[in-house]
C-alpha cells in the first residue's frame, strides 16, 4: 500500500493505523450496532425542535403570514434571510465534493460524504422558506413553467425569483444525484455485511453494484463528470440568489458586487457549518481517526481565506457607498452603522471579521473546541449579514414616510429554529442509517504517506 511518489513531508490522511477491514467495521458501526447515547440525545432534541417548527409553520399557513412580524415596508425578513443562509450553507458541501475532487485534494475523502449530505439538507431547509413565505403557498406550483390551460400562462422569466426556482431545483437535483452516486459502492458494502431486511434494502439501493472492474470504471468516470457538472453550480447558485437583490432597485440591494460577495460568503458560511458538524460528528460517532485534526486545520484555512475575501467585500461595499455618491445608497450604509438596528451590523462584524482572525494561529486550529466556537460565531454572523442586507435595507428606503421598524414574532424565531431542527434531524438520520464516511474512498487513501507520517510523527 505504499505510495512511493509521496513526499516524505506528507502526513497520513487517516490516523490510528487502520487496515481495510477496520475501516469498514468503523464506518458501518453505527448502522450495524446502533449509535451511542449521545446520538439519541441529539436526535431527541433536534426532532423536538423540528416538531415545534412544524407546528408553528402549520399555524402560520393556517392563519396567514400576519403571524410574522413583517409590515408594509419590510416584506421580507427572517424568511428570505433563512433562505439565503441555508442555500449558502450548502455551498461548502459541493465545493468539498466537487471542486476539491477535481483539484485532487485527497483529504476530502473523510468529509465529502457528510458535507454533501449537509448540502442536501441545507438546500431542503432553504427550499422550505420560499414556499412558506408566500401569501398563498398552496399555489406555489404556479412558479413552475408547467403546461396549463390558462392561456397558457407562463411564469415571468424576467423575475429573479423565477431564476431562483431553477437555480435551487437544479442545485438540489445535481447534488442529490452526485451524492447518491458516490454512495453506491458503500451501499453495496453495507448490503454485503448485513442480513435480512437491511441486506435486501441496501442491495436494492445500491442498484445492482457488483464491484467489478467495469462497474468501478463506469463509476469513476461518472463521478468525475458529475463533479465537473456540480462545480459551476458552486458559483452559479449563489450568484443567482444574489440577483434577487442585485437586480432590484432598493439601495443596499442594488449593487454589482453581490454575485462574488454572495458566493464567497456562501463558501465561508458553508465551511463554518461543515466544521460545526464535523467537530460534533467525529466525537459523537467516534470518527476522530478519520476526521482528523489535519482535516479541521485544512478547513480552517479555507474558512480564513474566504473570510478575508468577505472582509474585502464589506470594505468595498462601504467604500462604494461613499465613493459612489448615491445619497440613498450612502444613507443605507450609514443606517446600518448608526441606525436603530446597528447592533446587527456590529455583531456581524465581530462574528465574520474579528472572530475568524484567531484561525491564523495553528494552536487554535488544532483545538477543536475553539474552532467549534469560531464556527458557531461565523454561522451567527453570516445569518446576520443576510438579515442586514434584507431587513435593514428595507426598513428605511426611499420615502421617509414609510420608514418603519421590524420586530420578529416568536413564530418567525421558532421557524428559524425549526429549520435547524429539520437540518439536524435529517443529518442525524443520515449518520445513523447511511455510511457517513465514504468507505471506498477512504480505503483508497488509507496507505497515503503512512510510512513517512509514522516516521515524522511517530504515531
Amino acid at each position: 500500500m505504499s505510495h512511493s511518489a509521496v513526499s516524505p513531508l506528507r502526513v497520513p490522511l487517516v490516523d490510528g493505523g487502520k487496515d481495510l477491514a477496520r475501516v469498514s467495521e468503523d464506518v458501518c458501526s453505527p448502522i450495524e450496532h446502533g449509535p451511542t447515547w449521545m446520538w439519541y440525545a441529539a436526535f431527541a432534541l433536534s426532532s423536538t425542535v423540528l416538531a415545534i417548527g412544524f407546528f408553528l409553520v402549520s399555524d402560520q399557513i393556517w392563519t396567514g403570514i400576519g403571524t410574522w412580524g413583517l409590515n408594509k415596508s419590510v416584506g421580507w425578513a427572517f424568511d428570505i434571510t433563512n433562505f439565503v443562509f441555508w442555500v449558502g450553507i450548502g455551498h461548502a458541501g459541493t465545493l468539498i465534493s466537487a471542486i476539491l475532487f477535481l483539484f485532487r485534494q485527497r483529504w476530502r475523502t473523510a468529509v465529502n460524504r457528510s458535507a454533501e449530505a449537509m448540502t442536501l439538507f441545507a438546500v431542503m431547509c432553504a427550499g422550505v422558506f420560499p414556499l412558506i413565505h408566500m401569501g398563498r403557498p398552496w399555489l406555489a406550483y404556479w412558479v413552475f413553467p408547467y403546461p396549463n390551460n390558462m392561456g397558457p400562462l407562463w411564469p415571468n422569466f424576467r423575475s429573479p425569483l423565477l431564476w431562483d426556482v431553477f437555480a435551487i431545483s437544479t442545485y438540489f437535483t445535481v447534488s442529490a444525484t452526485f451524492w447518491y452516486m458516490g454512495l453506491l459502492p458503500d451501499l453495496a458494502l453495507v448490503a454485503e455485511r448485513a442480513r435480512g431486511l437491511r441486506r435486501k434494502l441496501f442491495r436494492a439501493l445500491s442498484m445492482g453494484w457488483d464491484g467489478s472492474m467495469r462497474t468501478w470504471n463506469h463509476y469513476e468516470v461518472l463521478y468525475l463528470l458529475l463533479a465537473a457538472l456540480a462545480t459551476p453550480l458552486v458559483l452559479s447558485v449563489h450568484t443567482i440568489v444574489s440577483f434577487d437583490f442585485a437586480t432590484s432597485i432598493l439601495p443596499g440591494w442594488h449593487t454589482t458586487l453581490f454575485p462574488p460577495y454572495f458566493v464567497d460568503g456562501a463558501i465561508f458560511s458553508g465551511f463554518a457549518m461543515v466544521l460545526t458538524l464535523m467537530i460534533i460528528a467525529r466525537k459523537v460517532m467516534n470518527f476522530e481517526d478519520y476526521i482528523t485534526l489535519r482535516h479541521i486545520d485544512a478547513m480552517c484555512k479555507i474558512t480564513l481565506a474566504t473570510g478575508l475575501i468577505l472582509e474585502l467585500a464589506y470594505a468595498t461595499e462601504m467604500f462604494l457607498a461613499w465613493y459612489g455618491a448615491n445619497p440613498y445608497e450612502r444613507f443605507v450604509f450609514m443606517n446600518r452603522l448608526f441606525g436603530p438596528m446597528r447592533w446587527c451590523y456590529y455583531t456581524m462584524l465581530f462574528c465574520n471579521v474579528v472572530a475568524p482572525q484567531v484561525l491564523w494561529f495553528k494552536r487554535v486550529r488544532a483545538t477543536p473546541w475553539l474552532v467549534f466556537i469560531v464556527s458557531i460565531l461565523i454561522n451567527v454572523g453570516m445569518w446576520l449579514e443576510r438579515f442586514n442586507i434584507i431587513a435593514i435595507s428595507l426598513h428605511r428606503d426611499f420615502l421617509p414616510s414609510s420608514w418603519v421598524s421590524y420586530h420578529p414574532t416568536y413564530i418567525e424565531i421558532g421557524t428559524l429554529c425549526g429549520s435547524f431542527g429539520l437540518f439536524f434531524t435529517a443529518f442525524l438520520l443520515f449518520c445513523r442509517f447511511l455510511p457517513m464516511i465514504a468507505i471506498s474512498e477512504v480505503k483508497g487513501v488509507l496507505g497515503y504517506a503512512r510510512r513517512t507520517g509514522e516516521a515524522v510523527h511517530g504515531a
Binding site: 392563519t63 400576519g66 413565505h133 401569501g135 412558479v143 415571468n156 432597485i249 441606525g339 420615502l399
Partner: protein, 967 residues
C-alpha cells in the same frame, strides 16, 4: 304545502335528529340583521328621482341620487351611488352651491354608518323592545302627565340646519308648551355672543374665503373641522391657484396646536390660548395704525417676539388687502371674538369676506340656554325631555352633570340611531333612521336649501325624527309629505324662475340643492365701544400647569361617528395617529418632562383627569397640551371599543383607544403627571422629515418654491438612461396631476378610496405593526429652519405611481402585476401568490399586503362593499388601480353610446372627493386634456424620477406665498 306533507316532513325531522326548522333558523340568523326590518333591501315607499333624468333601474348598473350629508351641520351636498338598491358610496355634489363637489372624510365614511349592525333595531321602552303604537301612546301620556303636574317639557338638540325638522320641533313645542334648547358639541357660541356685543344681534357670519386675499386665523381650523370645512376648503383653494396668474391668497395662522389649517399657512406662529386676546388686539392696533385710524383698543398684554413679528407682517398683508381681508378665530372666548369683529370691521370685511346679513345657520347653540336647562333638570322641574340629534350625556363638557340631571327628569325621550350614552338613560327611545334612509332637508346658510332623500327603506324599524315629533304632536304624516308641504309653502315661492311646484320639487330631487332669494337679516352697526372692555376669559397657566386645548379632529369630530371603522383608522392629517386621541406636547416640553411618544400622561386631577398617551408635536406652543374630542366613548359600539371583530385571528386585543376630554375641556389649564405606563401609538408615519439622519441629505420629495419665483420655476426632468425600449401607449395613457399647493392634507381622499375600493380596516394592533391597508396615504413632512418649534409642513398624497418602467412588474415570478397598454400597472389578484417582492421593490411603498383574511363577517356591513371591486383574499398584494373599474365603466358607456371618451369623464375616487381640487386625472396622451394642462401649469415633477421608474403621477410644485426676505 299540504297539512299531510308538513306532518310528514316533521316526522322525518324527528328521525333526522336535526330539525329542519332549526337549521333554517341557523341559516337565517346570518341575515337576522336584515330580516329584523321585515323588508330587507327595498326601495323607499315614495317616488325618488335619480340625479340623471332616467328612472329605470338596471341590475348591475349604478345610479346616482342627490341628497345631503347628515354627518354634521355643514350639510354638504352629496351624490349617492346606488347599486342594486343599496347605497354604496357618497360623493360631493358638484351642483351644491356650498360644497361644490367636495366631501370630507366623515361624509365619505357615513355610508358605512348606514350598515352598522350595532344601530338600534327598533323603538325601546326602557331597555325592552316595544312597538311604535305603544311607544307613541306612552310618550304622549308622559308628556301630558308632565304638563298636568305643572312641570316643564323641553326639547334638546344640537343645531341641525333643517327647516322641516325645526318646523316639526316647533309644532311639537306648540302642542306641549315646550321650549327648545340648542347646544353644540362644537360650539360657535363665542362668535354669536361677540356679534351680540359688537353688532347687536347674535349671528354666525357666513365666511367667504373665496373673496379673501389675505386671511389671518387665530386657532380656527377652517380647513380641518371648523364649521364648514368642505365649503371653506373649496372656497379657499380657489384663491390658491398661482398658475391662473391672479396671485395667490395669503394665510397666517396663530394657534397652540398644529392644525390642518396651520399646516397650510404661509405664516404660522405658535400662540397659547391665553395670549389670543392680546394677539388679536395687537393685530387690530397694527392694522389701525397702518390704515391711519384711531386707537383700536387698549393693549391686552405683551407677546413673545416671534408672535409680534408675525403680527406685524400679518397686519401689513391685511391692510394691503383691505376689503379682501378676513380674520377668523375659533376661540371660545367672546372677548377674543369681539376683537376679531373689530379687526374685520377695520378691514371692511363685513359684507365682503364675511356676511352677517345672509348668515350661517350652523352652530346656533348658546351655552346659557343649556346651563339653564341643566339647572332646571337638577331642580327636578323638567317633566319630560325630548332629545334628538344630540348626545349630551357624552359630548357636552358638563356631561357628568347632564347624566345625573337626566335621572331627575320624569320622562326622557331620545330619538337616536343608536343606544348611545344619552339613549341609555332614556325612558323611551325612538329609533331614528340614517340620513340615507329618511326624508329631510337642510339650509346651512341663508338662501341655500337642499333635500335629503332616502336611498333605501330603513334597514331597521326606525322612524324619522320629523315623523316622531309630529306623531307626538298628534299629527300622523309622513316626513316626505311634511317636507314637501314645507317646501311648497316656504321654499318654492322664493325660488327664481316661475315653475309649478311639482316641476320644482322633481328638479331639486334630481339636482339636490337650490339657491333661493335669501331673507336679509339686520346688518347692525358696529359698536366700537365694545372693544374698550375686553377681558380675556383665559388666564395663563401657573404653577407648572399646562394650558389645555381640546379640539375637534378631522376624523372623529365630536365622536358621533366613533363606531365607524374607516374613521377610527383614518390617520389624523397632522399627527398621523389612528384609533384614539393623544396628548400633544411641544418638543421643548416633552424634553423637560422626559416624555416620548406613547408614554402615558395624566391630564388634570380629580374626577375629570384623563390618561392619554403622549405625542410629541412639532409646532405645538410650549406650555400647552392639546387633545382631540370624540374618543373614549363608553357606549359607541363594538368598533369604538376596538373589540376584535374576528376572534380566530391572532390580532391582539387593545383596550379602547383614547379618552373623553369633554369634561376636561372646562378647564383652561391642567396639571400634567407623567405615568410609568406606555401605550405605543398606532401611527402610520414614524419619521417626519424629508431630511434623513446621519447623512443630512434632504430628499427631493416635496419640491417647493415661492410665489414670486413660481413663474420662473423650471422643472428638471431627468429621465435616466435606459437599455429598454419605451412602452408604446397608442390609445390612452392615464396620468394624474396632484397639486401640492392646493392639497390641504384633509384625508378625504383616503376614505373615498377606502369606500370605493373595499380597502379593509385592520385594527389598532395591526396599525401599530405598520400594516394599514390604505391605497392612498398622505405623507406629511416637517421642515424649515424651526423644524421642532414651528416647522413648515408639506403634504403629499402618495398612491401607486403607475410607473412606465415599474420595478414591481419585473420581479413578480408569476406575472401577477403587469403593464397595460394604457400605462396602468395592473394587479391581478387571483394570480398573486404573495411573495411580496413587488412591495419590496416599490420605491414608493404603496403596495399593501393582505396579512390575514380581514374581517368580512359582518354581513350587514358587507352591503357597503363596491361590487365592481374584488374583495381580496389573504396572502395577496393589492394597491391603487387608478380606480380601473371607473375607467372601464366610462369606456363602456362611451362605447355603448358610440362616442369617444370625453376628457374629465373619469374621476378616480380620490380626485372626485378632493375638496381642494388638488387631484386631476386623465389622458396624458392628449396635450389639451385637463391633466396635461394641470401638469404644465402647475410645474409638475415626478417623485424619485432619477431612479428611472417613470411615474404617471406628477406633483405640482408646492408654492408658498411667503415674503422674499423669509424665503
Amino acid at each position: 304545502m299540504t297539512e299531510d306533507e308538513r306532518r310528514q316532513y316533521e316526522e322525518q325531522d324527528k328521525v333526522d335528529g336535526l330539525r329542519r326548522r332549526d337549521f333554517l333558523q341557523i341559516l337565517g340568523g346570518s341575515f337576522a340583521a336584515l330580516a329584523a326590518s321585515g323588508c330587507g333591501l327595498s326601495a323607499p315607499r315614495e317616488k325618488i328621482v335619480p340625479y340623471a333624468d332616467k328612472t329605470d333601474v338596471t341590475p348591475g348598473l349604478a345610479r346616482w341620487y342627490a341628497s345631503t350629508c347628515g354627518s354634521c351641520a355643514a350639510a354638504c351636498g352629496v351624490l349617492v351611488k346606488s347599486r342594486d338598491g343599496r347605497p354604496i358610496k357618497m360623493e360631493g355634489n358638484p351642483d351644491h352651491p356650498l360644497s361644490r363637489g367636495g366631501l370630507c372624510a366623515r361624509g365619505q365614511a357615513s355610508v358605512l354608518d348606514l350598515y352598522d349592525s350595532s344601530r338600534l333595531k327598533g323603538p325601546l321602552s326602557g331597555e325592552s323592545a316595544t312597538t311604535w303604537e305603544q311607544l307613541d301612546a306612552a310618550v304622549v301620556k308622559a308628556l301630558d302627565e308632565a304638563r298636568r303636574r305643572g312641570k316643564s317639557v323641553r326639547v334638546l338638540s344640537q343645531t341641525i340646519p333643517s327647516p322641516s325638522l325645526d318646523a316639526a320641533a316647533a309644532e311639537f313645542c306648540a302642542r306641549h308648551g315646550a321650549r327648545r334648547v340648542i347646544y353644540d358639541s362644537a360650539s360657535a357660541a363665542a362668535i354669536l355672543d361677540a356679534h351680540r356685543l359688537t353688532h347687536g344681534h347674535a349671528v354666525l357670519p357666513r365666511y367667504r374665503f373665496d373673496q379673501a386675499k389675505a386671511v389671518v386665523s387665530f386657532c380656527a381650523d377652517f380647513l380641518g373641522a371648523w364649521i364648514s370645512p368642505v365649503e371653506f376648503t373649496k372656497a379657499w383653494s380657489s384663491r390658491r391657484r398661482p398658475e391662473k396668474g391672479q396671485g395667490m391668497a395669503w394665510l397666517a395662522q396663530f394657534e397652540s396646536r398644529m392644525s390642518v389649517t396651520g399646516a397650510n399657512a404661509d405664516l404660522r406662529a405658535p400662540l397659547r390660548p391665553s395670549q389670543e386676546l392680546a394677539a388679536v388686539v395687537e393685530l387690530g392696533r397694527l392694522v389701525a395704525k397702518r390704515l391711519g385710524r384711531g386707537e383700536f383698543a387698549p393693549s391686552a398684554g405683551s407677546l413673545p417676539e416671534p408672535v409680534s413679528r408675525a403680527l406685524e407682517s400679518a397686519a401689513g398683508r391685511l391692510a394691503a388687502a383691505r376689503g379682501e381681508a378676513l380674520v377668523v378665530s375659533g376661540s371660545p372666548d367672546p372677548s377674543v371674538q369681539a376683537a376679531v369683529n373689530g379687526v374685520n370691521e377695520l378691514l371692511g370685511a363685513y359684507g365682503k369676506t364675511l356676511d352677517i346679513r345672509h348668515p350661517s345657520r350652523q352652530r346656533q347653540g348658546l351655552p346659557d340656554a343649556m346651563s339653564g336647562l341643566i339647572a332646571e333638570m337638577e331642580r327636578g322641574e323638567v317633566g319630560a325631555l325630548v332629545v334628538f340629534g344630540a348626545n349630551p350625556a357624552y359630548d357636552h363638557p358638563e356631561s357628568a352633570r347632564v347624566r345625573a340631571a337626566l335621572k331627575k327628569v320624569g320622562a326622557v325621550v331620545v330619538l337616536s340611531q343608536r343606544r348611545d350614552e344619552t339613549a341609555q338613560l332614556a325612558h323611551y327611545t325612538a329609533t331614528a333612521p340614517h340620513a340615507l334612509e329618511s326624508w329631510g332637508d337642510a339650509a346651512p346658510v341663508e338662501g341655500t336649501y337642499s333635500l335629503v332623500q332616502p336611498l333605501i327603506a330603513p334597514l331597521f324599524d326606525s322612524r324619522s325624527e320629523i315623523e316622531s315629533l309630529l306623531a307626538w304632536s298628534g299629527r300622523k304624516t309622513s316626513a316626505h309629505d311634511f317636507v314637501r308641504e314645507l317646501w311648497r309653502a316656504k321654499v318654492h315661492p322664493r325660488a327664481k324662475g316661475a315653475r309649478n311646484f311639482d316641476e320644482f320639487w322633481n328638479e331639486i330631487l334630481s339636482k339636490g340643492a337650490v339657491e333661493v332669494a335669501p331673507v336679509e337679516g339686520p346688518s347692525g352697526a358696529f359698536n366700537a365701544s365694545a372693544l374698550a372692555r375686553l377681558r380675556p376669559a383665559r388666564k395663563p397657566a401657573s404653577d407648572g400647569r399646562f394650558e389645555f386645548d381640546a379640539y375637534d379632529s378631522v376624523s372623529m369630530f365630536d365622536g358621533r361617528q366613533a363606531n365607524n371603522p374607516w374613521l377610527q383608522e383614518l390617520p389624523d392629517p397632522v399627527t398621523k395617529v389612528t384609533w384614539g386621541n393623544v396628548a400633544l406636547f411641544s418638543p421643548e416640553d416633552a424634553k423637560s418632562l422626559g416624555l416620548e411618544n406613547g408614554r402615558m400622561v395624566r391630564l388634570g386631577s380629580g374626577d375629570d383627569a384623563v390618561d392619554l398617551p403622549a405625542c410629541v408635536q412639532p409646532g405645538q406652543a410650549a406650555g400647552t397640551v392639546a387633545a382631540a374630542f370624540g374618543y373614549g366613548r363608553p357606549s359607541a359600539g363594538p368598533i369604538a371599543a376596538n373589540l376584535p371583530t374576528r376572534k380566530l385571528l391572532p390580532i391582539d386585543f387593545d383596550p379602547p383607544g383614547g379618552a373623553d376630554v369633554y369634561p376636561l375641556s372646562r378647564e383652561s389649564a391642567v396639571a400634567v403627571a407623567v405615568l410609568a405606563a406606555t401605550s405605543p401609538l398606532a401611527r402610520t408615519q414614524q419619521y417626519d422629515s424629508q431630511t434623513v439622519p446621519f447623512t443630512g441629505q434632504e430628499r427631493p420629495l416635496i419640491l417647493e418654491t415661492t410665489l414670486s419665483k413660481f413663474n420662473d420655476y423650471e422643472v428638471k426632468e431627468e429621465p435616466g438612461a435606459t437599455l429598454w425600449p419605451k412602452h408604446e401607449y397608442p390609445g390612452h395613457k392615464w396620468g394624474m396631476a396632484v397639486n401640492l399647493t392646493s392639497c390641504t392634507g384633509c384625508a378625504a381622499c383616503v376614505v373615498a378610496c377606502q369606500a370605493e375600493n373595499n380597502v379593509p380596516v385592520v385594527g389598532k394592533a395591526e396599525v401599530r405593526k405598520s400594516r394599514e391597508m390604505h391605497w392612498i396615504r398622505i405623507d406629511r413632512y416637517y421642515g424649515g429652519d424651526d423644524a421642532e418649534s414651528n416647522p413648515t409642513v408639506g403634504f403629499q398624497p402618495m398612491l401607486c405611481q403607475q410607473c412606465d418602467d415599474a420595478p414591481c412588474e419585473t420581479v413578480c415570478p408569476v406575472l401577477a402585476t403587469s403593464h397595460s397598454s394604457e400605462g396602468l400597472n395592473m394587479q391581478v389578484y387571483n394570480r398573486c401568490v404573495g411573495t411580496r417582492y413587488c412591495a419590496n421593490n416599490c420605491p414608493y411603498k404603496v403596495r399593501r399586503f393582505n396579512w390575514f383574511d380581514y374581517a368580512h363577517d359582518d354581513l350587514l356591513q358587507n352591503l357597503a362593499l363596491n361590487p365592481d371591486v374584488t374583495v381580496r383574499q389573504r396572502g395577496i398584494m393589492e394597491k391603487c388601480t387608478f380606480c380601473s373599474q371607473r375607467i372601464y365603466a366610462a369606456k363602456f358607456t362611451a362605447d355603448s353610446e358610440g362616442r369617444p371618451l370625453k376628457d374629465g369623464e373619469i374621476a378616480p375616487a380620490c380626485a372626485q372627493s378632493c375638496p381642494a381640487d388638488a387631484i386631476v386625472f386623465g389622458d396624458t396622451n392628449d396635450p389639451d386634456s385637463r391633466v396635461s394642462r394641470a401638469i404644465r401649469e402647475n410645474k409638475s415633477y415626478r417623485v424619485l424620477e432619477e431612479i428611472g421608474t417613470g411615474p404617471a403621477v406628477r406633483y405640482g410644485v408646492k408654492v408658498r406665498n411667503v415674503s422674499e426676505e423669509k424665503a
